[in-house]
Subunit: 455 residues, 2 copies
């Protein structure tokens, strides 16, 4: 079937959608628009590119537009920004940024994969030359170039979330002194208090100057528009450059103007087929909200895994197939220097907000047989529902082997397992890999005991 | 309730059963008989004690009989062998091996946790001074002492299964040249052919002289009753000592004589409560068969994890509780030098024997983002049922991160997940830990594709 499928957005969801659509219907004309110059790169690896763990640019960006066209038969138009959707006419208005010209493209199906945008700061001096974000490969290249050329020694990072953690490690590896300004008492708001304290210790241990409860009020620049200090309500921090890691929000203005329904987090709402409320328009990736499988509520969880999956689903359905994305439990991990940290499911505070009556347990376990070389401590903080006895959420933090175990807990949540069922599962025991009672089983037994003690 | 619970066997299942029984009913008199001198030690760690990875004897044997009595309130009688069960009188006849005296003990409940025994070899010379087994802590101590004192340089290991693999690594670490004699073409009979070839390469790469299709016909000893060569149907192998790792079978003679039902593998059959067919007699651990949750058949899978669990269940039920052990899928792993190897579920040949119509897939994947430092290859060979699309079994082999991923596949099997369901699960992606598409998801997508291509 000859059809035209337009895809807007070239990072994760967009190329997935375009590739899948072309595979499902090789006769379709698939055109992908990307406003930047790069497509299909590893945005999650950018902090590691800055830090020097990843050294080759090609590793980050294996598919340039030409390669994507050649290998997958997709027409790729970089430097093109979608400006308006004329949904009744099934047309997309696109601006060629290099030539500053508008053009209209007719579609049979349209897939929006326009991603996220940085949260804005309304702070004086925020547009200085030495202030950076980490939202694109271009941003990563700019930071790396700045460090390589200017040899700065002091950085202020604003924001202590996942990206902030990765940047701390990257900059410390480059020999830069880091001040981390966070609005809250401990880093990684959203994780359990126990986890956040462990992350805080790890940062401090590695020389990061973590400053709690800091709201930036001013960036002090010199005549050259270069920031030399960051001022907050309670202090002032000198620096050679600043990185903002203050989070992202859905890029949903284009969709909103086309009367596509948004959720309460301002992300696009879709059905399980990634179809929006407007005929022939699909959406995927960080511009969308995600159905949380534990609470049944829409959340904003911008993760590359969901973007890729939703992209495939949107692409398949746009090309006439039938695929579904059922939602997510939230599975996320970060390396904070020597500490592995993962979160699966919902947190205590989310459980509270959603009206769950739950118990919380923390276990400190061994990753291997205790006296085995390479054994490390693994802590798990988990919550379970008092009524159904289902596992609702867990944080894991510790040495090697922590993060991969989170996937076992995550799968148990996806399968709606009770803690009693979890305590019965058959896991591997072998001295070099795990203790006789795996951390997951120790946790399950603790949760089970606490639940039965109450009933 | 004042009751007497006798437990026979002091390794894994026995102490678990005795401890649990005493915890459930603190008033009970719990007596544990063990024919050897050690109780409750880490038999799985013995190869690592021989190899020197584990250096402290106390690490292997944290609970001596006195400590077990003191900490758990169990009476422990080492050097005592149970010789006969008088089930109608509810008496156990026990021989005190040191004083060579028989005594009768009356029980309210009896728990048999008598473990396994080595497979016998009917080969001339098998009782020489320098031939060892690895069935007990005493065996491990003897081997270590022999190596420390005699400084041997050449060993013949007979048997290329799990224990054989661990011994190869242990001896190579001690600087000993190893000839490994195996009856089959490749080591690790029972695993998939692809896995076995990888294990074979790893052995060869590490200097192990693997000899396939070898049946030992004679151990050639000198006048001193010391073996100096091992003769097979096709060759002769000089050595300073021999270790037999030819596998184990259930120790079920005592049970059999008491008319306790055995299965076709000669292990004790129990119900889910670990109760045998004879009133008031329970059994747990390596003397029992285990219900395979995938085929529903009884198998002999002597693993410490099942022994500990069954022990707890038997102990709880003997003391008046209600606990169940529902069976196992088989989750087992071994480290072969630098190669992590795991098996979960059933193999292709078991699937064939059990009449499954199945597909088989092999994927070679990355453990992390491909260009990340420390990335390693992970291979998964897996089978799925054509009719139900359920995952039936998998082997994983490769670098770090292989074995822990097997637990995700194992849990999926326990949950009777289809490959389509598996392909939808939410797993962690973070460059230091896993690629965008985790090996488990890549496998699931391959299986799904192959199944849908056929239908």
């Amino acid at each position: 079937m000859k059809q035209t499928i337009l895809v807007v957005g070239g990072l994760a969801a967009g190329p997935s959608a375009a590739s899948k659509a072309k595979r499902i219907n090789p006769d379709a004309e698939v055109i992908l628009f990307e406003q930047g110059e790069h497509v299909s790169y590893g945005i999650c690896e950018v902090p590691y590119y800055i830090g020097g763990t990843v050294t080759e640019f090609d590793d980050l960006n294996p598919l340039d537009p030409a390669a994507l066209e050649r290998s997958r038969g997709i027409k790729v138009k970089v430097g093109h920004s979608a400006e308006q959707i004329l949904s009744t006419k099934k047309k997309l208005v696109v601006r060629d940024l290099n030539r500053d010209k508008l053009a209209e493209f007719t579609y049979d199906k349209l897939i929006l994969a326009v991603g996220s945008i940085s949260r804005q700061m309304t702070v004086e001096g925020k547009d200085a030359k030495n202030i950076f974000r980490v939202k694109s490969l271009a941003d990563g290249i700019a930071i790396k170039k700045f460090i390589d050329e200017k040899r700065p020694t002091r950085c202020v990072i604003v924001g202590g979330g996942y990206v902030g953690m990765e940047l701390c490690e990257a900059l410390v590896e480059r020999g830069i002194n880091v001040v981390l300004l966070h609005t809250d008492d401990y880093p990684m708001t959203g994780l359990e208090h126990e986890t956040r304290k462990a992350v805080h210790s790890e940062l401090v241990k590695n020389g990061v100057n973590f400053k709690q409860r800091q709201n930036v009020t001013r960036f002090v620049s010199d005549a050259d528009n270069t920031i030399h200090s960051v001022v907050t309500e309670t202090g002032s921090f000198e620096c050679d450059f600043v990185i903002l890691a203050v989070g992202v929000k859905p890029n949903s203005d284009l969709a909103s103007k086309a009367r596509i329904h948004l959720g309460q987090h301002h992300g696009i709402l879709t059905d399980e087929r990634q179809s929006t409320n407007i005929d022939s328009i699909f959406a995927a990736g960080d511009c969308c909200e995600v159905k949380n499988m534990i609470t049944g509520k829409w959340l904003y969880i911008p993760l590359a895994t969901y973007a890729s999956r939703q992209g495939r689903v949107a692409g398949e359905n746009a090309a006439g197939g039938r695929a579904v994305f059922k939602g997510a439990i939230r599975s996320i991990a970060v390396k904070v220097f020597g500490l592995e940290v993962a979160q699966v499911g919902i947190s205590s505070s989310e459980a509270q907000e959603n009206g769950f009556d739950f118990i919380k347990v923390q276990v400190t376990t061994d990753s291997k047989v205790a006296y085995f070389p390479g054994n490390a401590k693994i802590d798990i903080v988990a919550i379970a529902d008092k009524r159904s006895h289902r596992l609702l959420g867990a944080n894991i933090f510790g040495g090697p082997g922590s993060v991969l175990r989170a996937d076992v807990l995550g799968l148990a949540m996806q399968q709606k397992m009770t803690v009693e069922e979890l305590s019965q599962i058959d896991l591997i025991y072998s001295p070099p890999f795990s203790p006789l009672w795996d951390p997951v089983l120790i946790l399950a037994n603790q949760l089970k005991g606490k639940l039965s003690a109450r009933s």
